[in-house]
Structures are given as C-alpha cells and as structure tokens.
C-alpha cells in the first residue's frame, strides 16, 4: 500500500526533552487523517518536521513512496504540502486576493495582475465551495472566512496534502459544521488532509483514520469507524476517561447575583446588552448559551466592573456593585476565570508563583505596609500548585512557559482559593484537552456543592448541557429563555440561540 505521506519512526529532541519518539504516521490518499494528542503531546512538532521547520534526529519521510528530505518550508510547498495554521498568517488590511497571491504574484509587464488572480481564486473558491469574496478586505470578514482564505492560499499554491492545526479552536459551532463540510469536499476532490485536534467529536464526525500521540510517543493508528470516543480518549490520555460529568442534583438557595434591566452600550452607543434580567443562585451552575457576539462579553465585563453600565443594576450578595471598580467588585465576593487567559488571566512574563497573588498581593499576609512578603507568597503558590496539580518545573517558571491546561489550572486555583461566593467561568475549557477539561469541570461542581454560585459562559453546547444546572439562552443582549438541561436538546438550544421562539421569552425569572 502506497501512502501519500509516510513518516517513519520520527524522533525529534529539544534540549532536555524528547518531543517525538519513534512516531510513525501513514496517510492514505483521499482520507481525512486525524492526529490526536493532548496539549504538548508532540503533534505540532511532528507537523513542523513534515513542514520542514524542524529537522528530525531520526526517521524518514516518504511522499508518494519517494524518500524526501524536507529542509525548509519551500520544499514542503513544492511537494504539495500546505498548512493552515491555528493563528492565521494574513495581512489585515490587504484584500483576500492580495493575501493569497502574496509571494506568488502573477505579473504582466512588471505589474501585478490582480484581476486575473482574483478570477483564479474565484474559480478555486467555487470548486471547493469556500464562498470567499476575492475583493473583500481581511479585516472586514469573519474568522471563519479568514480560515477559508488560508485554505485557498494552500490550494492556490497547488497543495495536495493539507495540514489543519486545531482549525476549530477559533470557530463558532456553525462555522465548525461548515468547515467539516469543506473538509469532506476537499477529499472528494482528491486532496488528503491531516487534522490536528484534541476534539474527539470532530474526529468521529469527519475523519477516516486517527493516529494517536501521547507524551511524544506514537501510540497507534485506528479506523475511526470501528472505534469510539471512549477508546480514542483512553489512547490519548493513557487511562480511562469519565465523559459524563458526575454530579448530584443542585441544591439551589437564595440569589447571590441579581441583574435587573441591565443596559450596556458598546463604543458606538449601540446597546449590546439590552434590558437583561438574570439571577444566579447559591449552589447552582447557571450556563449561558449563545452565539458569540450576542452580548456575553459585555455582560461579564459589566458585572466585573470593566465595562460601564448604562442603566440597570447588578447586585452581589445584596450589595449594589453597578459601575464599581473591578477591585471593589472582587472584594464583594467575585471570582473570575476570564475568557482569554493569556490576555486577561495572567501576566505571562511574571513567574507562575507571582501570578498566584495577582488579586491579593496588596492584602495581608502577602504584603504589609506595602512591602511584599515573598516567603508567604511562595508558600501560598506552592500549596496551590500542589492542590490543583499545576505542572510546572518550579514556582519561579514564567507563566508563559506552561501549557494552556496548566495555565488555566493556575488561574482557577487563584480564583477559587479566595473562596468567592460568585464565580464566573468564561470559556474555562477552551483549547484544553480531555484530562484538563475533566479536572476543571469537577472543580466548578465542587464549588457549586460548597454553596457558591457559578456563572458558566461557553460556546461549547456540550459543556453547557453537561455542567449547568440551568441554562439561560442569550440572544441580542437579552436572556430569551431559561431551560432545564435535562429536558432540552441541542436542537432546541440551537433554535433559541438563533432567536427562535422569541415571543415565549422567559425574560423574568
């Protein structure tokens, strides 16, 4: 059997670690081949070897049966390998066409022939059902379309083998669905695809075969059709994984957070949160379901004091915190696991130990008379790192050097440790692997069982359905329905999220 790509016994070392150890990957022509592994398992390293960014210490690469030596990305390109990166490599203020032809410009008499290029791109776009406007500017198009531009870029360069690096991490559920359709279309047209992911659902939905890597080692390749998510997860983490979130029924008590007629305007004075009412009770997890951009971010920022409230009130533990400073809100009993952990959750250049007191450094015992008490801070950090199983070489390691899962665990450790009565968890498991997700969900439920109120915002319907005790659906800045996760379905939620059944609005709760 000839493979379109065959990587045999690849070994790649970095100072102090073996990133790939005897990994074999065989991709057949016309298949979608998943490359599955936890964060830091060595998936990206392997793909960077294939793409010519790293040179392996051992092992061979064959493309269509021929042994090749890929020493730089240009060689990979010429061999028909294209990569769609997780973080797009696009020039924001260029048009789609200009971006795609960048480096491969068609010229007539020294001038770039944009028209001809645009026509070609339109043709490619139609052929694969990508629906991209060649004349649109990148800064004006959605993330999903930007990704399709990246796909076009590889196709324009004649790629036969497309590598997708965690392509769904940045997409909404609808866009994910569209992407899966595009992948299927691409293989139908004879392309081969490697999909790097740790999302089992996507593998089950779209992939033909799956190669699993764990801690740098190749674990094996399976046919997806004859496998199950449980089996794949076990291969990935090396132990049994509990998918069903284990929890007792909620015992909700009085309301901890109360929002009445909240209006928040964006910079253009458009109300993005519009007369919103919501209660979160002690001892429950309230999930907010909604399509991105329906006011979730502004709602959270308004609660936490980061965004000005136009009208309405927010009370926490009976105390009016409307338009209070973030620190005041925090002191009133709020814990916040922010949506963007790099931007909002951590100071990446600080050590992980120092990050542990980002909210409390000014209080005793971490400082006295404005002088920091490093001994106390370090002891605290050590205790939290042990308790929350944050894997770090030491407390002095910069937060930047930790994996995403461990960064998130550190943030949760910091927020939960203050024992706030009200905890906001915004996209708490975004981009994390199964093991870390399991851990984080169990921590949220643990807080709930201690009688805390938890507000969970997530774009992952699965997460909302499994973890929440009540689900509030947000649409155009309003809560349009409150449903019981045991009685609803993904279809019903999807409909509500798209603005259906608006008249039945369970606005007052």
């Amino acid at each position: 059997m000839e493979y379109v790509i065959e990587m045999r016994n690849i070994r790649k070392e970095f100072p102090g670690i073996v990133a790939n150890d005897n990994v074999t990957l065989q991709v057949q022509k016309g298949e979608i081949h998943a490359l599955l592994g936890e964060n830091g398992a060595g998936k990206s390293t392997l793909m960077n070897v294939l793409f010519g960014l790293y040179q392996p210490e051992q092992g061979e690469i064959y493309i269509k049966g021929e042994k090749v030596d890929i020493t730089d990305p240009n060689i990979a390109n010429n061999l028909g390998i294209g990569m769609v990166h997780q973080h797009f490599m696009l020039v924001e203020n260029f048009t789609v066409t200009e971006n795609i032809i960048l480096g491969r410009e068609i010229t007539t008499g020294g001038r770039i022939d944009l028209k001809k290029a645009a026509k070609e791109i339109q043709k490619l776009s139609d052929q694969y059902g990508l629906r991209v406007d060649p004349y649109a500017k990148i800064e004006n198009i959605s993330v999903g379309m930007q990704q399709r531009v990246e796909i076009l870029k590889t196709l324009y360069r004649g790629a036969e083998i497309l590598i997708f690096d965690e392509p769904t991490a940045v997409l909404t559920p609808q866009e994910i669905h569209e992407l899966m359709e595009i992948l299927k279309k691409l293989v139908a047209e004879g392309k081969s695809i490697i999909l790097i992911t740790h999302k089992l659902k996507e593998i089950m939905e779209a992939c033909d075969r799956c190669t699993v890597i764990r801690r740098g080692r190749g674990i094996g390749t399976v046919d997806v059709a004859s496998s199950s998510p449980r089996h794949l997860a076990e291969m990935m983490v090396g132990r049994e994984v509990n998918f069903k979130v284990e929890k007792q029924p909620a015992q909700p008590k009085g309301a901890v957070l109360e929002i009445t007629n909240l209006v928040v305007e964006d910079s253009r004075k458009v109300p993005v949160v519009n007369e919103l009412n919501l209660q979160v009770k002690s001892g429950e997890i309230l999930g907010i379901a909604g399509v991105d951009g329906n006011g979730q971010t502004e709602l959270l920022e308004a609660i936490t004091g980061l965004h000005k409230v136009k009208s309405g009130t927010v009370t926490l533990n009976g105390e009016n915190i409307t338009n209070q400073k973030p620190r005041k809100v925090t002191q009133s009993g709020l814990g916040h696991i922010p949506q963007d952990r790099h931007k909002h959750g951590l100071v990446l250049d600080f050590s992980i130990g120092t990050n542990m007191v980002l909210q409390t450094y000014y209080q005793q015992p971490f400082s006295k008379h404005k002088i920091l008490k490093f001994q106390t801070i370090h002891n605290k950090a050590k205790a939290l790192i042990d308790e929350f199983d944050v894997r770090t070489p030491s407390i002095h390691t910069p937060a930047r050097a930790l994996s995403g899962g461990n960064q998130q665990k550190a943030i949760i450790a910091r927020e939960v440790d203050r024992s706030p009565d009200f905890l906001i968890a915004a996209q708490p498991t975004r981009g994390l692997d199964v093991g870390a997700i399991e851990f984080i969900h169990s921590k949220l439920i643990q807080e709930r069982d201690k009688g805390k109120a938890v507000l969970l915002v997530s774009f992952e319907l699965d997460e909302i359905m499994h973890v929440s005790d009540r689900i509030a659906v947000i649409y155009e800045g309003k809560i349009v329905a409150i449903v019981d996760p045991k009685e609803t379905t993904e279809q019903e939620l999807g409909l509500l999220m798209a603005g259906g059944k608006k008249d039945k609005a369970g606005d007052k709760v």
Binding site: K325, P326, K328, T330, L346, L358, I371
Partner: protein
C-alpha cells in the same frame, strides 16, 4: 558551557558587545591611519592614569547612572521615556533656582534643591504620562516634544529672569552644593562631587520599589500586561502616570548632578546635553538593572573621559569614542546576532 549560558547570558551580551565595539573601533582607527594600541593605551591612561582622571570619570558617570535609571524604570513598566533629556534640563534649572534663591543651612538647603529637581523632572514626566493614560497618546512622541519645550523653555527662563554675564545663571550658594573641596583635593582638582552617593541611593530606591513593594508589583504588572492588570483590579492609568513621575524624578535628579555638582550654575544650552540620550544607551547596556546601569554608566563615563586623553596623547579624534559607543549599543541592540555568534562558538567554533 550550556549551564553557564543560561545564567550568564544577560552579562555575556554587554561584555561581547563592548569587546566587539572596541575591536571594530580599532579597525576603523587602522583604516584611518591611527595607531589603535597607542589610542587604547591613552584611553586607559585617560581613565586610570591619575586621580584627576579617575575623579572626572566618576563625575561624568554620575548623571549617566541617574538618567540610565530613569530610562530603565520607565522601561520596566512598559514605557519608553525618550524625554529623560528634557527632564534632566528642567531638574537642573529647578535645583539651581532653589540653590540660588534660598537661604538655609545645608542639611535643609541641599536636600531641598535636589527634591526641587526631582519634582520638576517628575512634572515633566507626568505630562506625557497623563496624555498616555487619558488619551492614549504615545509617550515616545510626547516625550520627544517635551525635550524641545524643556530646552527652549529653560533657556528662555534663564534669559528672562536669571541671566548673568556669560550666558548663565549665578552660582548656587555653597549650602546647596554637592561639590567638595575634600574630593577635589583628593583628585588633584577634579570636579568630582558627592553626587555619586545620591546616584547610588537612587539605584537602591529603584531596586526596592520595583522588586520589594506592592507598588512595584503593580507597575511591572501593568508594564507587562495592561489587560490582565485591569482584570485584577489594578488601576492602569494611575500606574502609567506614577511610572512616568518616578522616571521623570530620577531624570530630574540627574539634572541636579550638573546643577549642584559639576557646574554649580546653569548656562544657556545651544543643544541638548546628551545626558538623557546617553541614559537610553546606559539602560540598554545595563540590561535595565540597578547594578548593570552603574557599571554601564562608569564604562561610558570612562570612555568619554578617556577620549580626551586619546586625542591629546595619541592624536585620535574624540569622535572615534562616539563611534565606539555607538557600536557597543549597536551590538547590544543586535543581541540576537551576538547570541548566534556565542552559540556558534560554544558549538565547537564552526563559524
């Protein structure tokens, strides 16, 4: 070597840069027909040759320590204070004004004059800080402009209110002077003054604020990540303004070194003093750390002082030292290149 590289790399870059700068300086001398060995010999004599030269080196280095600290403090908090030059000038003038116009015993007069300089520098720093915090105006632009306002503003004030024969102000009263007959005598009449003590105290203050206090924690957090700081309840605007105030105050104290130490007066400046701009280089070479900055300031002070001897004894123009300093900074800025070279050397010398 691998072990060493991690720990010593921050020191390795400046050291390599200095060596490379000196080597290339020698090549330039050779090409232009000077004798580099004689020149560098004269340079060394010019710094260490006698106690006068040593005293003058210390004097030259003193304001550079402070302007370096000013740049570094802002940098540590994520700001580029290009306005140290202007803050030096206003600090200089304010200290001289207090030095001339007040009558008090030294224990009061001298600290007061230094504080006046610090305050003037702080105010000059706060203006760009405010503009940045409130209106998001980039501090590089505003601080550069503030330099010009400071240069012509101080000249204007001297001309209008303080002018004495010789395009300068009166001398300050001795009760506000950092000058010392004892140090002068010790160094055969150099203008070395007690300012070094002030500079070292400020270096300790900077280290203490940045690394030991909650204020420093906030300043550094804001410097690295404004968003996360805001989420953590830190007042970002306040910290930007505070950082510029402290940085400006350090620069103002650098100005007092000239006003209360070296010159004892202020003259009308036709051009910038260069103390502020050299501070950027010192801070860069000193890796933004207190000790590094003191070492770097002495290196620059030595080079500048030794250059005089180089031109008189070896006939090499003083401008060559300017070139060498520029080369050193160039290589520090290109630390990536130096990194690469050291990597190649440690990997068995295959270049």
């Amino acid at each position: 070597m691998k072990m060493m590289k991690g720990r010593f790399f921050p020191i390795l870059v400046p050291v390599f840069s200095v060596i490379l700068g000196l080597i290339i300086g020698a090549i330039i001398m050779l090409v232009s027909g000077y004798d580099p060995i004689a020149a560098y010999g004269a340079l060394v004599t010019g710094v260490f040759g006698d106690s006068y030269n040593l005293g003058e080196t210390v004097r030259t280095a003193t304001p550079l320590i402070l302007s370096g600290l000013a740049v570094a403090f802002a940098f540590r908090t994520g700001l580029f204070n290009i306005g140290v030059e202007g803050q030096v000038l206003v600090g200089w003038l304010a200290s001289v004004y207090v030095g001339i116009s007040l009558d008090a015993p030294m224990v009061i007069h001298l600290p007061l004059a230094i504080l006046a300089g610090a305050l003037a520098g702080a105010i000059w720093g706060v203006i760009p800080g405010l503009l940045k915090a409130k209106f998001k105006v980039h501090e590089v632009i505003t601080t550069i402009m503030m330099n010009y306002i400071a240069l012509y503003g101080t000249n204007g004030i001297i001309r209008a209110y303080l002018l004495q024969p010789g395009e300068r102000t009166k001398d300050i009263k001795s009760s506000a002077s950092l000058g010392s007959a004892f140090l002068g005598e010790l160094t055969e009449g150099s203008r070395m003054h007690y300012g070094l003590i002030v500079a070292i105290i400020v270096a300790v203050i900077m280290w203490f604020i940045l690394w030991k206090t909650t204020t420093g924690y906030e300043l550094r957090a804001v410097g690295f990540n404004q968003h996360a700081s805001q989420y953590a309840g830190i007042n970002v605007s306040k910290n930007i303004i505070l950082a510029m105030a402290i940085s400006g105050a350090f620069a103002g104290v650098a100005g007092t070194m000239e006003g209360l130490g070296t010159f004892q007066y202020m003259s009308i400046n036709n051009a910038f003093t260069g103390v502020g701009f050299d501070g950027i280089a010192v801070s860069l070479l000193g890796a933004n750390g207190s000790i590094g900055i003191i070492v770097a300031a002495f290196l620059f002070g030595g080079l500048k002082q030794g250059a005089l001897e180089m031109s008189s004894a070896a006939g090499v123009p003083t401008e060559l030292v300017g070139i060498i300093i520029a080369l050193i900074i160039f290589f520090v800025a290109c630390s990536y290149l130096v990194h690469w070279l050291t990597n190649r050397f440690t990997k068995g010398g295959k270049l």
